[in-house]
Structure formats: structure tokens, C-alpha cells
């Protein structure tokens, strides 16, 4: 059954987030041959349309307004309402990001519809679209279908492969005019606490440190390793509580949930709350002095040793590999 499906694209630091392309890919599956329309919202965002088309959007709807420069639920809901009324889609796919998590339930409530959030896989079966999502912090999974109303979905970053980028694809780009009014929440300031560069929730490689890192300086070799691999640095709650790094790096039950291709845990014991945030990573490497550490139970590869000895050696080896390939 062909469906028309919208996706909401997200711009961060002047670029489209990867999850926007993953949402298009999910929307393609849901659409079952129907049209996929990417929506991009902001003050001046038309320039992103061609990249959305290259990643598989059949059309792009651009909503521009100075009051949409910063995300607010009221502003974005008004923009999306105008688009939904015009496009009459059967489904809308968001990234499971701070924005997607905040906005999608409001819209689902407005349209008296179901929302399947934090989706990690989408299957078409010829009948219902089946969504897979983690429950109990990834200790189990459920498969869900939407039984009534518009189909609202948020997709977890790094789980649904984007379509191959094809610059030769073409598609229509249209503007939708909206009057944005009565914003009941105003963003006065944005305090940047995360490091510039690779976004933790979307990183393909994460090098994470725990109490074993011992100090803020102890994170330096981890940062270098992450740099060499084009990845991001994360931390366990223990390392954050000890003041070695900012809470914005925390991975776990409280903190971020990540699913990179490669997770390198350095001096992390592997408390259940930490595992909840990273155990679904594709490949896990554990480096720990304690051979009994829990982290080895979820690791694909383990090195029992001192991270301050192992990590610098790893940096050298990865550098060599890079030169050869």
C-alpha cells in the first residue's frame, strides 16, 4: 500500500544531521513506493533541499520564518501543521533527537494519533509496517504497529542505514508560507557545553572513559584516539561524578544512549546503568586492568591491561593502518 510520508530534517551547526538522511530511508520503507517528502524548517534553510533530494527525498518542503531560527515546540508545530494540512501525509518520521523527542508527541496528540518512538528497525510486510524499538533500556525489544490515525515515528540515530547519496537525483522544492505567532516558550540563550565536532549520539566511533581514567588530564589520550578514528569521546557516570569530564559526555541509563559501529570502553567497569546506554553498539572493545570487570561480558574484544599503556599503542597502530589504507 503506497503511502505519502513526511520526514522532518534537522540542521545543527549549519549542516543537516545524519539522522535526517536515516529518517528519509525509514520513510522510504514506510511509504512502500509512495512519495517521501522531506520538510526543512528554519530561518534560512532552502539551501539544504538539494542534499535531502540526493539522499532520497522525492520532494522537499521548505518552511522559512525568522521566528523559526531557534526550535520551539509552538513554532515548529505551527510550521508542521501548515505542511501536514497541505500535504496530507499518512506518516511523519522524525529523528529521535532532543528536537524530535520534544515535538513529535505534541503533534501526535494534536492529531489524536499513535507515535512509535526510538525506532531501530522498520519492516514492510505487505500489510502493516512493523517497527522495532528497545524497551527496558535495551534489555528487550518490542515490535509495534500503528493501528489508527497518522503514523508518527522517531528513529534512533545510527540504526537505520541512509540511502546512497546520489547527486544526480532531482526533485521539486516548494516553499510553504506560515504566520508564526504566540510562542509561549522563548529561548533566551543557548549555552554550548558539548565539544565542537562529532556529535556523540551520531558518532560511528566512541572512545569512552570511566573511573579508571583517574583525572581530567587522563582523558587526553582518549581524545587523541577518538580524533584518529574520527569519533567522539564519551564517559561513564563514574567519570562524570568524579569531575573528570562534563555530564554532557555521560553515556548510560541517565545520559545518552548510543549505538556506534565501534565503542572502545577504557577503564569502565561496566555497571548495568552504563551498559544500558551502549550495549547495543555494533562492536565493543573493553580495556580494563581488572579481568573480572563486568564490561568484558558485553565486549567483543578485550584487553586486560592499563589503559595508559594500551591507548597510546592503539593510537600508533591506528595511525599506521590509516597510512597503509
Amino acid at each position: 500500500m503506497a503511502r505519502k510520508v513526511l520526514t522532518l530534517a534537522e540542521v545543527r551547526d549549519g549542516a543537516l544531521r545524519n539522522v535526517s538522511f536515516e529518517a528519509i530511508s525509514a520513510a522510504k520503507t514506510i511509504a512502500e513506493g509512495g512519495e517521501v517528502v522531506a520538510v526543512v524548517v528554519g530561518a534560512s534553510v532552502r539551501s539544504f533541499a538539494s542534499e535531502l533530494i540526493a539522499y532520497g527525498a522525492d520532494r522537499v518542503v521548505v518552511v522559512e520564518h525568522e521566528k523559526l531560527a531557534t526550535y520551539t515546540p509552538d513554532g515548529y508545530a505551527q510550521a508542521l501543521q501548515a505542511v501536514v494540512e497541505q500535504e496530507k501525509p499518512e506518516g511523519i518520521v522524525f529523528g529521535h533527537t532532543a528536537l524530535g523527542k520534544d515535538l513529535s508527541p505534541k503533534l501526535a496528540a494534536k492529531w489524536q494519533s499513535g507515535l512509535v518512538s526510538d525506532v531501530v528497525a522498520v519492516e514492510e510486510t505487505g500489510g502493516n509496517i512493523i517497527f522495532t524499538r528497545p524497551i527496558y533500556s535495551g534489555k528487550a525489544f518490542e515490535k509495534k504497529i500503528v493501528t489508527d490515525g497518522l503514523m508518527f515515528v522517531t528513529v534512533r540515530p545510527n540504526n537505520i542505514a541512509p540511502l546512497e547519496k546520489d547527486e544526480s537525483r532531482t526533485g521539486e522544492v516548494v516553499n510553504v508560507q506560515v504566520d508564526i505567532k504566540d510562542l509561549r516558550t522563548i529561548v533566551r540563550d543557548i549555552v554550548r557545553k558539548t565539544a565542537e565536532g562529532v556529535d556523540l549520539s551520531e558518532a560511528k566511533v566512541i572512545v569512552a572513559g570511566g573511573r579508571g581514567v583517574k583525572s581530567a588530564e587522563g582523558f587526553e589520550p582518549l581524545k587523541e584516539l577518538a580524533n584518529v578514528l574520527g569519533g567522539a569521546v564519551g564517559a561513564s557516570r563514574g567519570a562524570c561524578d568524579a569531575g573528570y569530564c562534563d555530564y554532557s559526555l555521560q553515556i548510560g541509563q541517565t545520559g545518552k544512549v548510543v549505538t556506534p559501529d565501534l565503542y572502545i570502553a577504557c577503564g569502565i567497569s561496566g555497571a548495568i546503568q552504563h551498559l544500558a546506554g551502549m550495549s547495543n553498539s555494533k562492536v565493543i572493545v573493553a580495556i580494563n586492568k581488572d579481568p573480572e570487570a563486568n564490561i568484558f561480558k558485553v565486549a567483543d574484544y578485550g584487553i586486560v591491561g592499563d589503559l595508559f599503556e594500551v591507548v597510546p599503542l592503539l593510537i600508533e597502530e591506528f595511525k599506521k593502518l590509516k597510512v597503509h589504507s
Binding site: D74, K101, D102, L103, P105, K106, A108, A109, K110, Q112, S113, G114, L115, S117, D118, I130, R133, I135, Y136, S137, K139, A140, F141, E142, K143, K144, I145, V146, T147, T185, I190, V191, R192, K193, D199, L200, D246, Y247, S248, L249, Q253, T254, L262, I272, Q273, K282, V283, V285, P291, F296, K297, V298, Y301, G302, V304, V310, L313, L314, E317, F318
Partner: protein
């Protein structure tokens, strides 16, 4: 100030998940107040202590949830409400929960509604914003700081590690993020007092709702455990050899580098 907290009783995080007859088995499991809801309860108590008023904790569940409601009362909440829809509504999801809560709240003239930003069992993170939308009030999710001055409100919101400073006004719904406060443990006098505090029980009928009004919009068709991970490979030998082997394995076997 008229303050409400939306609370959920959840599985303890440490529990092992066992699936029986297509459902997560609750046999012998420990239950707790959803940890994010604990932040909401603590914040509600602090706001009341500063600005006056009353804190009512509301949950949807069965009679078992009375234990967690009493805990919230022991922490310092004034009243508790248990909305039991288990016998009335067969198919339930976040749409159901939000609709029932909004129906309960709509004539309560709430100034401030607090909830956790996500429950650690289902992990949907939907109910707070849905309730605000149904009530027609603004909301701010994942907050780490709340300052109220008259009807003006200043909120700090966690946005994937960055902070947004937001201005808004009452009535308002907020969802709590870790870092908002340090939830207190119930004191012994608190536990004694909690036994005498009012705990109201409601059913769907009491809210003038029919099953059709709140029936789920989504359906779970299967619950399964992740495939058992084969035990990993602990490398042996000289550290520098181990490192070489690891890099080679990541490159050729795991193919992630």
C-alpha cells in the same frame, strides 16, 4: 500553587528481564518510582515549600501502585490519586495514558505539572508533551533548573548536553532530567504521616470516559530479548602484540575500521 506530578511505577533497573507468554514477566520483580519521576516529585515539593500550595501525585496503574504513591507521600507530597483503568481498557498505549491524565487534569486548574522526561521501562518519552497539548498549555522537556517568579518561569533545558535558557509562564508542564535536584529519601516521620494522607482511587467512569475514547493507537505484536552475544575474545600475550592483534581484528574481522 496547585502542583501536580505525573508518576509511573516501573521495574527496577537492576531486574533481569524474563519473557513469559509474550510478555515481560513481573514475577518476583522489584518495582520502584520511575527514577525521572523522582526528580519531578522532589522539584514539586521544593516549589511548594518555596511558593506555598499543594502537591498531588497522580498515577495510572493498578492497586500495586499504591506502594509507590505512599512513597511519594512520604517524601512530602500532599495527596495522591490512583487512576485504575486496567479492567476497563484492554488496549492501552501513550495515547491512552495521556488522554486519561488530561481528562483528570482538565478542571483542576493546575499551575504547574511535572513529570519525568521518560520512563525507564517503555522508554517512549511521550506522555508529558501529549498531556500539555491536550490541556492547551506550554511545556518544556528535560529540564535541569526551574525558577518561578509570580507567573513568570525561567527554565534551563538539557538539549543533548547543551543548555537552553527558556522563558515561559504558568500554567506550564515540565519534564525532569537528571541533574534537576537530588531526590530525598522518605524520613520515618514522613512515612508515618503518609499513611494518613488522602489517596483517591478513580476509574474510567469517574472521568466520564468510555473505552472507545482512550483505546490505543498502536499495538505491540511481539516482545523479544536481544540475541545472546557470544562471549568476546580476551586477547592474550604481550600488550603491544595484543594491540596489534586488536587493530587487525577490528579491520579484517569486525570490519569497523
Amino acid at each position: 500553587m496547585n502542583i501536580f506530578v505525573l508518576m509511573k511505577r516501573t521495574f527496577d533497573t537492576e531486574e533481569k528481564i524474563v519473557i513469559q507468554n509474550g510478555k515481560v514477566s513481573e514475577e518476583g520483580a522489584e518495582f520502584i518510582i520511575n527514577p525521572y519521576d523522582e526528580y519531578a516529585i522532589e522539584e514539586a515539593i521544593q516549589v511548594r515549600d518555596q511558593h506555598g500550595g499543594e502537591v498531588t501525585v497522580v498515577t495510572i496503574g493498578n492497586e500495586d501502585a499504591e506502594k509507590e504513591l505512599r512513597t511519594a507521600l512520604a517524601m512530602g507530597a500532599d495527596k495522591a490519586v490512583l487512576i485504575n483503568i486496567e479492567d476497563d481498557v484492554e488496549s492501552r498505549d501513550q495515547y491512552t495514558t495521556a488522554k486519561v491524565l488530561a481528562e483528570y487534569l482538565k478542571d483542576k486548574e493546575a499551575d504547574l505539572i511535572l513529570a519525568g522526561n521518560v520512563a525507564i521501562d517503555g522508554g517512549s518519552g511521550q506522555v508529558g508533551p501529549r498531556v500539555a497539548e491536550l490541556l492547551g498549555i506550554p511545556y518544556v522537556t528535560t529540564i535541569t533548573k526551574l525558577e518561578i517568579d509570580g507567573t513568570n518561569v525561567k527554565v534551563v533545558r538539557d538539549v543533548e548536553g547543551d543548555e537552553e535558557v527558556i522563558e515561559t509562564s504558568l500554567p506550564l508542564l515540565v519534564t525532569a532530567q537528571q541533574g534537576l535536584n537530588e531526590p530525598r529519601y522518605p524520613s520515618l516521620p514522613g512515612i508515618m504521616k503518609a499513611k494518613k494522607k488522602p489517596l483517591e482511587e478513580l476509574e474510567l467512569d469517574d472521568l466520564d470516559l468510555e473505552e472507545d475514547d482512550v483505546e490505543a493507537k498502536t499495538k505491540t505484536i511481539e516482545i523479544f530479548l536481544p540475541p545472546k552475544k557470544e562471549s568476546g575474545k580476551i586477547l592474550q600475550g604481550d600488550i603491544s602484540d595484543q594491540v596489534k592483534e586488536l587493530v587487525s581484528l577490528l579491520h579484517t574481522e569486525a570490519k569497523v575500521i
